[in-house]
């Protein structure tokens, strides 16, 4: 235990000394990692919010079956019972012509006076069909719509299926772009950290030689360099997190219109604590990997 503490202390001391010995190089590495993570993090934020929106809207998804005008109330109730028996349907609510008209009237508020001029109620009765949670998605809705389509007395079926499918396509596009960007930025980060560590190895070749002479194992020599990469990555992650939060808090209002298009007016959320920690851990992991790549060729003994 004391051995481990002594070794950890040495690694920490040496890594910090290495960073402070070449502050500009280290700062450039941290800044580059931060910029890469800001870009990747921004994509991740957009993606999480779009997915969150889909989850929130999923609960509101329902199918509306508009009934033929003049269908007797008895037939309307029979259709409601029939719709309820379809697999995947959680509940069915029958909205009469009158109720539909009252809803419309309350919806138009100041324009209600114009409705008084209508001779008769033009709105049809309808069935509002709620799906079980497992079917509250595009595929689930398609199954229910297919079962109800063509039933006698049902004039038209309306669902959010088209919207959901379109949104899913947009989500897949963002996800693909984010993944591609993430890979490119990840590789760039690795190369930058690897080069920084290579420079550190060259700058400290005397130290490496002396350590080797006094019996340091390869792991002991590599340890501080790996820790240096890890620290640079972690600091880059923290800087990226702070920048993202700043942009999210201060810059978001400027993108209100664009966000309205993709989030439909939903209030965007920042990363959760776990996601924020994952971003920092991701930076640290990239730094560690970059340092590992720099040392993969081995150190001269």
């Amino acid at each position: 235990m004391r051995w481990l503490a002594a070794r950890s202390l040495y690694f920490g001391r040496t890594a910090l000394r290495g960073i402070s010995a070449s502050p500009v190089t280290s700062a450039v590495a941290v800044a580059t990692i931060a910029v890469c993570l800001v870009l990747a993090g921004a994509f991740a934020l957009l993606l999480f919010n779009m997915e969150g929106l889909l989850d929130r809207f999923g609960g509101d998804l329902h199918v509306t079956a508009y009934l033929e005008p003049g269908l007797p109330a008895e037939s309307q109730r029979e259709l409601a019972d029939l719709a309820h028996s379809v697999e995947g349907v959680a509940a069915v609510r029958l909205v009469s012509e009158q109720e539909a008209f009252e809803r419309f009237r309350s919806g138009v508020a100041h324009g209600a006076a114009y409705l008084d001029g209508l001779g008769e109620n033009p709105l049809p009765a309808s069935l509002e069909i709620t799906l079980v949670p497992a079917r509250q998605n595009s595929a689930g809705m398609a199954v229910v719509v297919e079962s109800l389509d063509g039933l006698p007395g049902v004039e038209e079926l309306n669902s959010g299926q088209d919207w959901v499918e379109g949104y899913l396509r947009a989500l897949a596009l963002v996800r693909g772009l984010g993944l591609g960007l993430g890979v490119i930025l990840g590789v760039a980060t690795l190369l930058i950290v690897a080069n920084t560590i290579r420079l550190a190895v060259v700058a400290r070749r005397d130290e490496i030689e002396i350590l080797s002479l006094v019996g340091a194992s390869p792991g002991f020599v590599r340890g501080p360099f790996l820790l240096e990469g890890l620290l640079q990555g972690a600091v880059g992650g923290v800087v990226a997190l702070v920048l993202l939060f700043g942009l999210f808090s201060l810059g978001l209002p400027g993108f209100a219109f664009g966000l309205e298009l993709v989030l439909g007016g939903a209030v965007p959320n920042f990363f959760s604590v776990a996601q924020a920690l994952a971003l920092v851990a991701g930076g640290a992991f990239l730094g560690l990997l970059g340092a590992g790549a720099a040392l993969a060729g081995g150190l001269r003994s």
Binding site: R2, W3, L4, A5, A6, R7, L9, Y10, R17, A21, D206, E207, E209, I210, L211, S212, L213, V214, G215, A216, S217, P218, F220, S301
Partner: protein, 245 residues
């Protein structure tokens, strides 16, 4: 604080049974047909002090490099502290080096580290707890008269002081073998004697010492066993009168 393994002052090397270093028909060539060492066989007992002499290019440094596994011989076998250096795996090299202290002509100190940190490196690699390491470093620096300089950096020290720091680093782990390659090559005559006295005192405490030097005056002053190399071959192996072979 004591130097090295205790065998008692003047412990005589066994005729092979208790050798610290054994080299059998060792050759080293860096280019085809150009030999730095040729068919060198040598045995150094535990606790023995040996001068390795010869002109520049005789092969002294090459032989020392083979002994601490910095290089592999082209031919032959080398045993150091009972371990075959030629067959030593990469993972075993650090273990051997922890038992073999090395001192160089150019000191090989880290300029950005304090004297305490430079000496402490040898203890860091074996995981000595910080408090114990500080105590050991202080003790060895005190023995070498440098305890008051422990927070200084190497470049603020004289050449003799820097070499004493290098010796302190080599001895702080109590090695069983001490190899010194021209340890006084950069020093004036007074400092040369001072440094050699320190190295010789390590041998009296049981550490096997092999000193490569081309200074014949130094060799004659100490009256120790002398192995002379020329052109990569051993041309003379003389022992002082009264010592056992």
């Amino acid at each position: 604080m004591k130097f090295g393994r205790r065998l008692g002052p003047g412990a005589a090397p066994g005729p092979g049974g208790d050798a610290a270093i054994r080299a059998y028909h060792v050759s080293k060539s860096y280019a085809a047909g150009s030999f730095a060492l040729r068919d060198v066989s040598l045995e150094v007992g535990r606790g023995e002090f040996v001068f390795l002499t010869g002109p520049s290019g005789a092969g002294k440094t090459s032989l020392l490099k083979l002994l601490f596994a910095a290089e592999d011989p082209s031919e032959g076998q080398i045993l150091v502290l009972g371990r075959n250096v030629v067959r030593l795996g990469h993972r075993a090299v650090p273990d051997l080096r922890r038992r073999v202290g090395v001192v160089f002509q150019d000191f090989k100190l880290l300029e950005r580290r304090t004297i305490e940190e430079n000496v402490g490196l040898a203890l860091d690699v074996v995981g000595t707890p910080r408090r114990d390491a500080r105590a050991k470093v202080f003790a060895i620096l005190k023995q070498l008269g440098l305890q008051h300089r422990r927070h200084h950096h190497p470049l603020s020290l004289s050449g003799g002081e820097q070499q004493r720091v290098a010796i302190a680093r080599a001895l702080v782990n109590e090695p069983e073998v001490l190899l010194a390659d021209e340890p006084t090559g950069n020093l004036d005559p007074d400092l040369t004697v001072e440094i050699m006295d320190i190295i010789a005192s390590a041998a009296t405490r049981g550490t096997t010492v092999l000193v490569a030097t081309h200074e014949l005056g130094l060799v004659s002053r100490y009256g120790k066993r002398t192995v002379r190399l020329e052109g990569g071959r051993i041309v003379e192996d003389s022992r002082p009168r009264g010592s056992t072979a």
